[in-house]
């Protein structure tokens, strides 16, 4: 299989901000990380808070700079110089409330990237927006609404539609369902699966929920304190976890079947 993303020796340090006294410490947010994602796969990045998973994701999307190492997208380093390169990697956020500009109608939110990247106007743009809304399970009536009029699940669908509008090849989803109710979570997760299967979009899925990962991901990367603890095919990780940490994570799943 072709690799869509390769990450080598990635390092990123944060300096803690010193508000009053004491010296500032250096936190190794991402410490020498290697992994790659095959085209068309769903890869899950698993870890607890502060493990560095979001930092990696933001580095890949170009929202954050890194100190050393390389990130290759289809074999070439990412620099986000061209529009074309920019649109191919999209990001879905955890906080559904702040993901949408509160002053923009849904219509504007979805059509803005299309206008900017594909220079489509008028009726064609109109159709495109409707098509995207339909794809994420919403109807045309949402176009006139503002974000605060929607539920968390609906907002997350809009965010997904906005990401899809750019026809991305890789979507990074950063805890996209952890702020949603369980009955809404499953709907969104199913949508991701469909996009992966029908539209062949590759996903880097960040989560701390090992139940979701098992049913969603092809490949799992387990992180702790900025380092990769373990990585491998999902089935393998779940049936034969190599590290104590992964084992501990599996035991800690509520009503975990691994305990006995």
């Amino acid at each position: 299989m072709k690799k869509i993303l390769e990450i080598n020796n990635l390092k990123k340090n944060f300096r803690t901000e010193r508000i009053f006294f004491g010296s500032n410490k250096i936190i190794k947010a991402v410490d020498d990380v290697f992994f790659s994602i095959n085209s068309g796969e769903i890869c899950a990045l698993v870890g607890e808070s502060g493990s560095g998973k979001t930092t990696i994701a933001r580095c890949i999307a170009g929202l954050e700079t890194f100190d050393s190492g390389s990130i290759l997208f289809k074999g070439t380093p990412l620099i986000f110089k061209t529009k074309e390169e920019r649109r191919k990697i999209q990001y879905i956020f955890q906080d559904t409330y702040n993901s949408l500009n509160p002053r923009m109608r849904i219509d504007d939110t979805i059509s803005e990237p299309i206008k900017y990247h594909f220079e489509i106007k008028g009726q064609k743009l109109n159709e495109e927006v409707n098509k995207l809304l339909k794809k994420v399970g919403l109807n045309e009536s949402f176009r006139k609404k503002f974000p605060h009029e929607l539920s968390g699940g609906q907002r997350q669908r809009i965010v997904i539609a906005r990401a899809l509008s750019l026809k991305p090849e890789l979507i990074i989803a950063d805890e996209p369902v952890s702020n949603l109710d369980v009955s809404i979570q499953a709907q969104i997760l199913q949508l991701f699966l469909e996009l992966n299967i029908k539209d062949k979009i590759t996903f880097l899925f960040i989560t701390h929920d090992l139940r979701i990962v098992y049913n969603l991901a092809d490949y799992v990367i387990v992180m702790k304190d900025g380092k990769i603890v373990e990585q491998g095919q999902t089935q393998k990780i779940y049936s034969k976890p190599q590290s104590d940490y992964t084992q501990n994570l599996l035991y800690s799943i509520p009503a975990s079947p691994f305990k006995n």
């Binding site: 508000i19 009053f20 006294f21 004491g22």
Partner: protein, 323 residues
């Protein structure tokens, strides 16, 4: 902690430099100036004597040299002599500072004291008639032109009722009073200016305290305190009050600029012998050394006050104390 204080003290230097450079540029780069205004009016002054005067004060040298000269003397706490009466600037400032500090510190204490009470009580009785009337009263204080209020109160209490003195810090017969009477005399002189200053500042501080208090009361640890079965008094006066008053320390630090040297309108009305009037007179007369002296001193005291506020904040808030 020590390092922090030293760093902050060192940071005062560039800020003071910036302030003196700005002030220096304003007074020297703008048209008009000491020699033009004070001397050219006089027909008898020959161009020759202007030049002589300019060189006497060093005003004929390039601006940056003038500034460096000023700075050189400033390092040794020498602010030079006044152009007007030739007396040392430091001495003139030292004469005026106590009156300014007396007025402003009394006003500040009164203002914060009343404002905190209003803020806290309004937060506890939110949307009540009391809350609404306090809002209106404090906003009247905030909106009323202080010099106008001063005029009216002087007219009522000073002239019509003859209850309070309306100008200066002391009565004419001050030197002949007993020490007890002296204190009462000064206090009487303080009443109107302190009241008017404090009245104007109430709205801002009381609103700030009120918003803080409301926000604190909605915090989860307040809910948790109720769940522990603590009494309402403990919850409000220990948990909520302390947390909501912490940021007020910063506000105290922020309200310092302008207190020293910025209250000249006020000091003019009450003929208060303070720094504000000194600043005002020196600006009108283009008395450069005094202007520089007043601005530098005011800025220095303000920066020091800010530093003290920050340090005391750090001492009261464990989140900063133990990092």
């Amino acid at each position: 902690m020590k390092n922090y204080i030293i760093k902050r003290l060192l940071l005062i230097i560039p800020i003071l430099l910036g302030i003196t450079i700005i002030t220096f540029s304003i007074i020297h780069l703008t048209p008009g100036g000491f020699t033009t205004v004070n001397l050219q009016m006089d027909i008898r002054t020959s161009p020759d004597s202007i030049a002589r005067l300019k060189s006497l004060y060093g005003l004929d040298r390039p601006l940056h040299i003038q500034y460096l000269n000023w700075l050189k003397r400033f390092v040794f706490f020498d602010f030079g002599n006044s152009f007007l009466d030739g007396r040392p600037v430091l001495k003139k400032v030292a004469e005026r500072l106590p009156a300014t500090l007396l007025l402003n510190i009394s006003a500040l204490i009164l203002e914060f004291f009343i404002a905190i009470i209003i803020g806290v009580t309004s937060a506890l009785k939110r949307n009540s008639f009391y809350d609404k009337s306090m809002t209106v009263i404090t906003f009247i204080g905030y909106s009323i032109p202080s010099f106008w209020l001063a005029l009216i109160l002087m007219l009522i209490f000073g002239v019509k009722l003859d209850l309070l003195p309306i100008s200066g810090l002391k009565s004419v017969n001050f030197d002949f009073l007993s020490s007890g009477e002296k204190i009462i005399d000064i206090l009487k002189h303080l009443v109107l200016p302190v009241f008017i200053t404090a009245f104007g500042g109430l709205a801002y501080i009381s609103r700030y305290v009120k918003t803080n208090m409301i926000e604190t009361l909605s915090q989860q640890y307040i809910k948790a305190s109720y769940a522990k079965g603590l009494s309402e008094n403990i919850i409000i006066y220990k948990h909520a009050l302390k947390n909501s008053l912490l940021p007020v320390i910063t506000l105290l630090g922020l309200s310092l600029p302008g207190l020293i040297g910025g209250s000249f309108i006020f000091e003019t009305i009450f003929a208060w012998p303070g720094m504000g009037r000194l600043a005002y007179e020196s600006a009108l007369n283009f008395d450069y050394p005094v202007i520089m002296g007043v601005v530098t001193m005011a800025a220095f005291l303000t920066l020091l006050g800010n530093l003290l506020a920050d340090i005391s904040y750090a001492f009261v808030d464990p989140r900063i104390r133990y990092r």
